[in-house]
Amino acid sequence: MEKVKKRYERPIITKHYSGLMNKYGSRNISSPKSEIDGVLVKELVEKYDSPLFVMSEKKIRENQRNAYRIFKNRYPNVQFAWSYKTNYLDAVCSIFHQENSWAEVVSEFEYNKARKLGVKGSNIIFNGPYKSKPALLKAIKEEARIHIDHFDELYDLIELSETNGQKAKVAIRVNMDVGVYPKWDRFGFNYENGEAWQAIRRILSSKNLHLIGLHTHIGTYIMSAEAYRVAASKLAALAKSIRQEYNILLEYIDMGGGFASHNTLIGQYLPAEEVIPSLEQFADAIASGLFELPYKGEELPMLILETGRILVDDAGSLITTVIANKRLSDGRRAVIVDAGVNLLFTSFWYKHKITPAQENGFHTEDTTIYGPLCMNIDVIREGILLPPLKRGEQLVIDYTGAYNNSQWMQFISMRPNVVMIMEDGSVELIRKAETLEYVSEREIIPAKLKK
């Protein structure tokens, strides 16, 4: 009988350093992540290749339902609008729309995408600093909710509504000091210097604009719940003045998003789970600010939330395969994997959770993870404790659902397949890997350059 051989693991030695802070935090790999939503990583890679983005239908629905429940428990009238730029893969947006989310878009491209997915105009919130006149006209005609960013846009809307004979449904975006840094004052009208109130008066003096709401979005990855209470309270003060001076009740207050997800930022010492307020705390803060509104119960405006990251970040993973092992000049271990920063844009600011997909030994080494691009910036992670990995083995990078599939780029290599694991455990391809034909399709070679 042939001898059964033992499982091999590369021999390693690690030196102990005492008296230094451990910049890697605790060892976070307790067990391998060999499956995602019950589907084996190995099988996914065999069928759909590596690297591979994997989205979870189950997780997205859970997140959306959970967030709705949390806000609905604290405020009577809640509406979510899916933030397209966070992840605008059609399949992902469609789940949010099935879960009754409207669309929150920030460009004509995103607006058209939402319309193509069957979202009606009145369920689209049109944000952003650049909306072309044709885009605004289309939005007016389709009764979308246009959130005005600056006075030039406000005057465009007055002109378009007048010439077109149709009232535009508008809100203004308000920026304000809520005690967090950096203060976002580039979008919308400022609260403290009176610009927001000036914009409101200009809107209300126009026969062709219909002011239906107020909007703010205080920042991104906000780690303080109190900031949201301050923001809600300032919008409530504006709503109060609108009621007192014009006797107008607003349809809604849009509190935007920006709640921090559980991804740890580069430079953040403690893991995100320990320092990020829970969604309940954000909701408490917003509700307590909004209850300063001088409205009776049934008059309370709808609360709109445009949160993106916190609903989708943990519903996405990126599977990547080890191409090579290396030793750097200072003795550190490095691995090269087949997914680069062109796919994983968020690796520039996050320390993602990265877990081997197969059983490995207990010993770990300080490892740098490089992507496959021939570019010095292609670093997925400067330092992480990982067990020895063999060529061809997989790593699962978690919390990649937000921003990567909208900010990724075709650079040096093609963008890979994206699959979705459905609630019933089946796997669906939701975006096909790019091909040379796909990439070259838009290019034109001048005749004199052709052979």
Partner: protein, 84 residues
């Protein structure tokens, strides 16, 4: 037949904890690392190490060759072994 000199004062525990009394430095070895280090410490040659590992473990020669030379380079860097 390459051989290595390993200071015999270096102590290794069963769990792979390595102590170098001359400098007070401590290290950790994984299981295979410990086995190889102990073989070298007892005067084992590179060929003997290869034979043992390829016999016992599910690994091909060229893969192990890469890992072994990397491991030895690490040991040399930490001055735990010297080439004879």
């Amino acid at each position: 037949m390459r051989k290595y000199i390993v200071p015999d004062t270096i102590a290794i525990s069963d769990s792979g904890f390595l102590f170098m009394p001359s400098t007070g430095e401590t290290f950790n070895l994984n299981k295979i690392g410990k086995e190889i280090f102990q073989m070298l410490q007892k005067g084992g040659t590179e060929e003997e190490v290869f034979k043992y590992i390829l016999d016992e473990y599910d690994i091909d020669k060229s893969s192990f060759e890469k890992d072994f030379s990397d491991f030895v380079a690490q040991l040399q860097k930490y001055t735990l072994i010297k080439e004879e």
